[in-house]
Amino acid sequence: MSKTGYALEISNVHKVFNRGTINEKAALNGVDLNLNPGDFVTIIGGNGAGKSTTLNAIAGVWPTDEGRIIIDGTDITRLAEHKRAPYLGRVFQDPMTGTAATMDIEENLAIAYRRGQRRTLKWGISKPERELFREKLCVLGLGLEDRMTSKVGLLSGGQRQAITLLMASLKQPKLLLLDEHTAALDPKTAAKVLEISDQIISENHLTAMMVTHNMKDAIAHGNRLIMMHEGRVIYDVSGEEKKNLHVKDLLARFEEVSGGEFANDRMILA
């Protein structure tokens, strides 16, 4: 635990893509955000607001230009992506991204179970691990416990996201990053994956961030909600105040901060 007691501290993080070209884009413009242990934050905002970019900055997909990122007291700002992995569980928008399609379900889980450990010449999966994985898969209620040696590539998008969620939490992360992880799924599957997400977060007492385009989901899930605009956090609400939010409140908030500009985004956001 850090001196400040925060699970995550992001201060003044900046990121410009394609600097010096006509495609220059200031994606993050001084993001400040502190998460308490156990916070489950939903993140909303228009296209290009910097939601996914913030998650990628935390995950270290590329180096940031400025600012500091501290997880549970450890400054990870300069660490390479794979060195941050021990702190993070990640689920991506594209169900293909989180799993290795040509490998078995149990192999994917075994790789995740060794996150942050040295990969040695020991056999990649043990018998007790198989039992553990079987139990965990059972809890998902998708029947995957009987298909542990199936290739992940044979599974549906929803099943793959469920596996990725399990992989993200097998080794307790300091922070779980959910990057629009239900956006590519049909509504019914998306609801199921969200249910599994809630379950995994509460059972493991995880600190989590969830980017979503769906305002209802953003209100219904988590204990805190932030809105981003032009690479900054512009609205941060939690507790009772968040519980009493309605979609129309959020829309009003959007229009307020963006002038008329957000009217165009209404369609996407509603």
Partner: protein, 316 residues
């Protein structure tokens, strides 16, 4: 008619055992290509150079009095160094994979010349106790020939076993995960750069060892012997997959069967090669022949899927 009468089936039958042995030896190289091309998803052209490096190292050591069998692990190590260079060019210096491997391949041409001192170096089975030789296939008693093939096959089985074990370990899984989905691998804490270098080293180690065996088999090393080796390796991988891929995938030890399929692919390649030579195709055309074989086998699965998709059988 006159042409067909001029073909002697017995000549083909006499030549085939040599082709089979050659295919088995090249199977080792094909396994190396399989590791980069299929497991790592990296088109590594280093092998054209590293196979000759293995051969050059082996020949010079044998001529210098080192036991031929001892040159195999040394050739393996030399191949690993070649793989290390390609890996570092790619991961540490950011040079695209194919180009990195071409740079290594080109530089190895000079390195190989330096090792050998001149473009060609013989190593005679009469003077040295070579591990393998065409002589063991064509000469000697039937018993000794069977013994030779059995020994070679056993060696391959052991090699396949070692690779099967390795790619089931945590370290081997990391290579497979990196090749399949590098985003996933990094998210799970795998240092994908390190893993790439490691896989390239193992692959080129195999290729170098193949070079050491092949040079003993044919009795001389030539600085140009590796030209087009990648194409032969790919041909073996693809022939093996097209003919036995589905069968191998269904087995319990699927990965071991797939590797066996690749080795058999190399054997088939050399049998067909011999067959085409026997049909009196001028040997000048053989590289063209190899390229056409690989292009065909690569194209068939693609065209098949395209055709099925047109008919609406396969979902887009």
């Amino acid at each position: 008619m006159e042409y067909f009468l001029s073909l002697n089936p017995m000549a083909l039958l006499r030549a085939w055992p040599g082709s089979i042995a050659q295919g088995m030896i090249w199977g080792i190289m094909a396994l190396g290509v399989y590791i980069t091309f299929r497991l790592l998803d990296f088109a590594d052209l280093t092998v054209d150079g590293s196979i000759t490096t293995g051969a050059a190292v082996s020949v010079m050591l044998i001529r210098g009095g080192v036991s031929p069998i001892l040159t195999l692990p040394i050739a393996f190590a030399a191949g690993m160094l070649a793989g290390l260079v390609t890996g570092l060019l790619n991961t540490s210096l950011g040079i695209p994979g194919i180009l990195a491997s071409i740079l290594t391949q080109l530089s190895l041409y000079s390195v190989n010349l330096v090792i050998m001192g001149k473009a060609n170096q013989p190593v005679s089975v009469d003077k040295y106790p070579l591990v393998v030789s065409l002589r063991y296939v064509t000469g000697g008693s039937t018993g000794s020939r069977i013994l030779f093939f059995a020994g070679l096959a056993l060696f391959l089985v052991v090699l396949v076993g070692i690779l099967y074990w390795y790619f089931g370990t945590e370290s081997g899984q990391a290579i497979r995960a990196t090749g399949c989905n590098s985003s996933m691998a990094r998210a799970q804490g795998i240092n994908t750069d390190l893993v790439k270098v490691l896989a390239l080293m193992i692959s080129n180690g195999m290729v170098g060892m193949c070079g050491a065996l092949y040079v003993q088999f044919q009795g001389s090393a030539d600085v140009n012997m590796g030209r087009g080796a990648i194409v032969i390796g790919l041909a073996a991988v693809i022939i093996g997959e097209v003919l036995f891929g589905k069968f191998a995938a269904k087995q319990k030890l699927a990965f071991a069967f797939t590797q066996m399929a690749v080795i058999i692919g190399a054997v088939i390649y050399y049998m067909v090669y011999q067959f085409v030579l026997w049909l009196k195709m001028p040997s000048d055309y053989m590289k063209l022949f190899s390229a056409v074989v690989v292009a065909l086998f690569l194209a068939v699965p693609y065209l098949k899927e395209k055709h099925l998709r047109k008919k609406g059988v396969v979902k887009a």
